[in-house]
Symmetry: C2
Subunit: 561 residues, 2 copies
């Protein structure tokens, strides 16, 4: 920052590089809307008032707010690379994102983290990283990597690192697990994100007292306000799968609860949805439609998040703050007319160059030769079947006799499901049955399967399932749909088997196509074919899951025999 | 912090070291008052709710708020040492102070700073230090030390240092003075305090854009709100000499201005006043009496200041926060019933041991031999006289002919005033005349004279003035009152010539006595004999001042010939 240049620009009319004339400025500090010109030099706001500049852009009385902050997001869930994702957020008025790259870290460990941080430093938005705290997420599966406290500590001084990512293992925290305590201790001078769904009372108190600062898992006002009272900043989430905003904000508005400890986030949101409705812009719009004061909504979307994460010179339109700005049609629909990042207008910001990711992260699909009978499940008297629940990511544990199982397999209501370890060719294959996925004729396989991201495959016959897995290797990871021995749909996600290397437009089109193909194959229309599948392997959400080690009963905390 | 111990205490009823039972807890995060027990272990709050503990104290339904934060204070102005001052604040519910030791730094430079930081680490409150940015405050005088950017940078990593102290040289900032810009640059990653009275418009914008974060000089709502809008956090001051709270808070309340960027401070407040009314407690009480919501007042006094200065785990009663608490009779008069610091009750906190300050800081009074005629002022045709204004620290420039001057000297309305360099025995003596100090019979001398703290002496005859200066050397600095060649009053301030080494009670009694003596000598009852005198040497406040280099016209920025 060139201080003398900034001082002269603020002081002398006509010295500014850029002046946005005739704006209605949302002042998050006083809670006012103020008419004025915004003077910018060296990427910094040097004044709001009457200014002339070397270049002037007439805002024509439209509203200007600080650039939005997405306080918690997993970029991998968009299936776009960081550089593609960043531009997509930017177009929607988000100038700062706080990310947790724990998906790619489960695949690529230290290499993945260093690569993401390297990419983060090159994109045209503020791309902050919380270091993944739970890799792998449980000991009941095999991921591509694990990250211990010493490994995480190497990244502490990276300027884009703000702290420790969501501590999902709340059971481990409360049990004073040694490695977890060591991580909390190591990062006690930075921000530590939480993840503690439905926690309450003394367990919640213990979890927070251990050093956790935020939580984005509240699904009701009561949950949110208990967490606020106890000391957590509450990140109000509105993502693709999880939509919590209405329940929380309705209560906040109704009870007049102080909003200074709220921020907005998406957690996981698909590119197509971001393209159509934005991220934080959407949270703001929804909140205002529910009755929240628009300036309060903007505060939540900007300065609040900046305070919670200790971000300096971000989140306000004020002297000395970075000129991260969003121009809005109005404060009702929050339609975005323009965006500025560090004083540069969106149209003048080039799409960042494709970052060359480490070869080891490209198409990392390593599984043992699959024999013809590798998916055969030994006969038993009784079977526990994973029951898919429409529009939910929780599952049910369904018990069937051998006869009933056979009956439902033949009528197509039960499919086989398998998880094949794909990081170290261990030969591990977990096998089981699933009900409610749909009467499919063929197989669907994916390398996206939370959080270890092994191959998850579902089908009505072993041959198509095995072929789908082999096809996944061919396309370098992603999604594959197979029917009668032929690939009828595919989406290539070579970066870690999670992200496409293509443009946003291409990714969106390809996702639409492959989802359509999946429904044509017979997938239940009340679920997302791939997202639902990807969560079948996450052994922390009740009731029944499957990992590369077998079918896992989350409630009993043990594998099904 | 022992994380496992804290987790177990939060989780398990009866495990806590201390539980404050039946409190009405002021929750600064939600803006609520919540009934509950406060559970404390290892100095940390581990939960609010229903708790049993190894030790329990019944709060009997009284209010408990977070310990107050004094966001800007010069401890030297109390005339007590840091360890005495800290205890005085603590008794009044302040558990954190943010200080700027620029008075003692003007006397003792690097040694003084290191000594204050050393003392700060030993007192039983959070004693943060902003490094003095303007030592000396102007080039028109000789202080005991100067501090350049390189010297200040050595202290950056001290855990008690939060940033750069009030940048009083706003003229230098706007003029892009090289050394000032270097200081702003060096501390751009920390908090930089401002001091820019009556600044407005583009000059204010330039000052803030240079990197300044706070200001405590607002004297009206309009001034405060312009500063808030432009990006400054406003520290609302209620000190001994400067009382700005009513004017600012009335406007805040009337206009419903967002209060999140306000904090409370005292700047300069005497020990006796602290003893009788407290510091931040008094600001809170006054604000509520003016009509501010009590919870908002507590937020301003606690979490707001913590956010502005980036203090972690301070300013709230919440899990993981330090157990800095104040028990209040009610939320009207804010009478303090008890105080806890890091979970330890006030009555159990021992007075900190006297810190052994470096010898070079004790009685640093070094001036040349004073000859009989050293105060003689050459005859001129016209004289510019410093005009004291009742109850103000501004002065007037009064012009008199030689005859009129003589007349008023003989009728006692005009006295002689001199500033004698006392740090390096340069022999510098500034001499002039003063009107409005009172018809005194004798002389009053002080080593407290902002900001260079040379000797300032006023009197109706040279002999008593010279004798008073010599007496100051004898008592090691402080205040001396002389009449007819005899010392009739004195206050010894040997630490830097600014602070007493005695207890609070002794200091308060001695100050009362010496002030009484000064009025008996004839000092104008509408001024404070010593504080008014101490500001006569501060060449940054209009209109006429005196330094060891002579009488200085602040408006014209030049010495009077």
């Amino acid at each position: 920052m060139n201080i003398p240049k900034i001082i002269r620009a603020a002081l002398t009319d006509g010295e500014c590089e850029l002046v946005l004339k005739n704006a209605k400025v949302v002042n998050v500090f006083t809670g006012e809307i103020i008419d004025g010109d915004i003077a910018i030099t060296d990427g910094v706001i040097v004044g709001v008032g009457k200014y002339r500049g070397k270049k002037e852009i007439d805002i024509c009385g439209k509203y200007v707010a600080p650039g939005f902050i997405n306080s918690h997001v997993h970029v991998e869930s968009s299936m776009a690379t960081p550089e593609v994702y960043a531009m997509e957020e930017l177009r929607q008025g988000t100038t700062t994102i706080i990310t947790d790259p724990h998906e790619i870290a489960n695949v690529g460990g230290m290499t993945a983290l260093s690569e993401i941080l390297s990419a983060a430093s090159r994109v045209p938005i503020n791309y902050y990283v919380m270091l993944p705290s739970c890799v792998p997420s449980t000991p009941f599966e095999h991921s591509g990597a694990s990250l211990n406290v010493r490994q995480l500590s190497y990244f502490k001084n990276d300027p884009n690192v703000l702290g420790l990512g969501e501590m999902m293992n709340s059971v481990g925290v409360i049990a004073c697990d040694k490695e977890i305590v060591a991580k909390l201790d190591e990062f006690s001078d930075m921000v530590i994100d939480g993840h503690d769904p439905m926690a309450t009372g003394k367990k919640l108190n213990a979890y927070i007292s251990a050093g956790v600062h935020t939580d984005h898992e509240s699904i009701s006002y009561d949950e949110a306000v208990e967490k606020l009272r106890a000391g957590l900043a509450v990140l109000v989430r509105e993502g693709s799968a999880t939509k919590n905003l209405e329940a929380i904000m309705k209560g906040i508005i109704k009870n007049g609860t102080d909003t200074t400890r709220l921020a907005f986030c998406t957690d996981d949101k698909h590119l197509a949805e971001i393209r159509s409705e934005g991220t934080i812009r959407h949270n703001v719009e929804l909140s205002v439609k529910l009755g929240l004061d628009p300036v309060k909504a903007v505060q939540i979307a900007t300065i609040n998040a900046a305070r919670i994460y200790g971000l300096k010179r971000i989140g306000a339109i004020a002297c000395g703050y970075f000129a991260d700005l969003v121009v809005l049609e109005d404060l009702e629909n929050f339609r975005i007319l323009d965006v500025y990042k560090d004083g540069i207008r969106l149209q003048d910001i080039p799409q960042p160059e494709r970052y060359e990711y480490s070869r080891s992260l490209i198409s990392p699909i390593y599984f043992s030769e699959l024999s013809e009978d590798c998916l055969v499940i030994p006969e038993k008297e009784k079977y526990s079947v994973i029951g898919v629940v429409d529009k939910q990511i929780v599952t049910q544990k369904l018990d069937f006799s051998a006869d009933d199982l056979k009956k439902h397999i033949s009528d197509g209501r039960i499919n086989k499901i398998a998880v094949i370890e794909r990081h170290n060719a261990t030969g591990n294959i977990g096998k089981g049955y699933i009900m409610g996925y749909g009467k499919i004729h063929g197989a669907i396989a994916s390398t996206v399967s939370h959080d270890s991201h092994n191959i998850v495959v579902v089908g009505d016959n072993d041959a198509d399932m095995i072929y789908a897995c082999k096809e996944l290797k061919r396309i370098g990871g992603g999604y594959v749909i197979v029917s009668d021995g032929k690939t009828v749909g595919e989406l290539s996600l070579p970066l870690g088997g999670l992200m496409s290397l293509k443009s946003a437009e291409e990714v969106i089109t390809e996702i639409d196509t492959v989802i359509k193909k999946a429904y044509e194959l017979g997938v239940n229309k009340n679920i997302d074919p791939f997202i639902t599948l990807s969560f079948m392997a996450l052994p922390v959400i009740p009731e029944l899951r499957i990992t590369d080690c077998g079918v896992f009963d989350v409630t009993r905390f043990e594998f099904v025999r």
